[in-house]
């Protein structure tokens, strides 16, 4: 790794769900939670702020959200303040940007925050905003949104590999069960058996309601510090050891086979290579289960199982507690909800808790963690690799 070592030294999330509050109030709530979670942090410490927000212009009629978030959180950043936008991966983009700034020496202590307010009086308007993520001029007029796109991925995966609806339900059941232990999740204390999931209404065939993540209001924040500053905040940092990203296409005409996501394989290879580990070394993974089929294709593209066997990986519980590794112990996007800009940051909060031994669903003796976000129609993949505590 070049540059200074960087770690996450603490983090917090708001409650995720349909929340009766505004974008700015979400930022205030997460700011208050962050300073409670990281008692040694002062507002003066934070020299830089990166704000992951996918569509505040559409969902909250608000641009220039970085200074808005800073004001809500009581911060006056003096080195870097900016917003990062990469649709569903806007939050991880904020973390990656903070990481790069600290590694380069430009920043010492930075906050990466993700905020998204998605539930509006008109959900048709909110759905139109979601559809803007696609190539709106060429795919948009037909009504391209995420559910029918990922439904086509599922349809082709079923055709080519014999993947079943039961395999999709297995992913959903696992992630909703994990979300049961997470009081901040949208579906906290709600249970979904595989049988119940298979009876939920179809949203975009073959995907049912339980195969899709929700429209969610929520925010999450983490503090990142350089190796010289880490000890001031925690004895159990989560060190960033590698990161990778790949952007493959945008228009759906260029989506390839649908069932293979080579961009994820490349991004993970880059991130794991920088960390000098292999996928088998990963103990816990937070992957982007915007839809159940996504997690299944991700098992394959990450190299956790051979191509086509992601469905079996799910039904065999190999991503469950006691499996090969624990996938989405936070509850995933399916169980926690998916406030676009907040999701990637909330995953990092979970990784920090997993590696510092404070997670609600701890993976056993976890040392290495991987975080993956896709954005849009799985056309961009973003991956980060973290290592537990110890020396820089």
């Amino acid at each position: 790794m070049t540059g200074r070592a960087v770690a996450i030294v603490g983090g917090a999330t708001t409650k995720f769900g349909v929340r009766p509050l505004t974008w700015a109030e979400l930022a205030q709530e997460v700011g208050a939670a962050l300073f409670r979670e990281v008692p040694a942090l002062t507002t003066e410490d934070v020299d830089s702020l990166f704000v992951g927000a996918a569509e505040p212009e559409r969902f909250a009629f608000q641009s220039h959200v970085a200074p808005l978030a800073a004001e809500q959180m009581g911060l006056r950043p003096h080195r870097i303040i900016q917003r990062t936008e990469l649709a569903c991966a806007s939050g991880q983009s904020a973390i990656r940007s903070a990481y790069a700034a600290i590694a380069s020496g430009l920043s010492d202590v930075a906050v990466a925050v993700g905020v998204e307010k998605m539930n509006l009086p008109s959900m048709a308007e909110a759905n139109a905003s979601m559809a803007c993520v696609m190539d709106r001029a060429w795919d948009g007029p037909a009504g391209a949104t995420a559910p029918p796109f990922f439904a086509m991925v599922a349809q082709r995966h079923m055709l080519e590999h014999g993947t079943t609806e039961e395999a999709l339900a297995a992913v959903s059941e696992k992630n909703h069960r994990f979300a049961n232990a997470n009081p901040h999740s949208q579906f906290y204390e709600k249970t979904f058996s595989r049988e119940k999931l298979l009876r939920l209404p179809v949203i975009a065939p073959p995907l049912r309601l339980g195969d899709c993540s929700s429209m969610t209001d929520g925010a999450a924040a983490v503090v990142l510090a350089s190796e010289d500053h880490v000890r001031r905040y925690t004895r159990t940092p989560a060190w960033i050891r590698g990161t990778g990203q790949y952007s493959d296409f945008h228009n759906l005409a260029n989506a390839g086979s649908l069932t293979e996501w080579p961009g994820l394989t490349r991004a993970a290879h880059e991130a794991l290579g920088r960390a000098k580990i292999g996928i088998r070394d990963v103990d816990v993974a937070e992957v982007h289960d915007c839809f159940t089929i996504s997690e299944i294709v991700e098992y394959e593209a990450l190299g956790l199982c051979p191509p086509g066997q992601g469905g079996t990986f799910a039904t065999d519980g190999r991503g469950d507690l006691g499996g090969d590794l624990v996938v989405n112990p936070r509850g995933g996007l399916l169980g926690c909800g998916h406030p676009l800009g907040a999701t990637g940051v909330a995953q990092a909060v979970e990784v920090f808790r997993q590696l510092s031994g404070t997670a609600a669903r701890p993976a056993e003796n976890a040392e290495w963690a991987l975080v993956h976000n896709l954005s849009g129609s799985a056309n961009v993949h973003s991956v980060m690799v973290y290592q537990r505590g110890g020396a820089a």
Partner: protein
């Protein structure tokens, strides 16, 4: 700034600057009734702006209105593009020519929107969408699929390209199952 200048709003809509040195004066003008209601802005929708003053691809929409689905091909390296372009993504040449695309194809994958349609498309629910491999060219286009309920569609089913007027003079394309 002198204290006697009247308060005014800047073009960016900033709030007037409070002046601590002089007490606020009573506004001599009677309060006016607010005439405007909630803003009803012109909303861009998902159909592109198609005229020559809006896009360099106006030719695409003119041809579409004449019943022909077309795209651009690079004169330098022969690359066929989708969507149509103004510069080639491979060699960056801006010398592109228009070519007609086949009017027939087969469904590669499909689904349907049964809920959660974007604003303006709620009345269309349920509607089918899919990826269609056009016959004889290496292009797979996304679009609406008409002519059969979604439950009666199948991968491999033959469809044809159907240009249509979206209702306000703009044109787009969709697919229709060949009977």
């Amino acid at each position: 700034m002198t204290v006697d200048l009247p308060r005014r709003r800047t073009s960016t809509g900033d709030a007037p600057t409070p002046d601590a040195s002089s007490p606020p004066r009573a506004d001599p003008a009677p309060p006016t009734e607010r005439k405007s209601g909630p803003a009803r802005p012109f909303l861009l929708d998902f159909v592109p702006l198609e005229s020559e003053k809006d896009t360099r691809l106006a030719r695409f929409f003119e041809r579409l209105a004449a019943g022909r689905l077309s795209t651009t091909r690079c004169a330098r390296d022969d690359l066929l593009h989708w969507p149509p372009r103004t510069a080639c993504p491979r060699c960056h040449s801006e010398e592109l020519s228009w070519v007609d695309l086949p009017e027939s194809g087969r469904i590669y994958a499909f689904s349907a929107v049964l809920a959660g349609a974007p604003m303006g498309m709620e009345a269309d629910v349920p509607f089918a969408v899919g990826l269609v491999d056009l016959d004889g060219v290496p292009l797979r286009l996304f679009g609406r699929i008409e002519g059969r309920p979604w439950a009666d569609l199948a991968i491999g089913l033959a469809v044809r390209v159907e240009p249509y007027d979206v209702g306000d003079g703009r044109w787009f394309y969709r697919f229709r199952v060949v009977d």
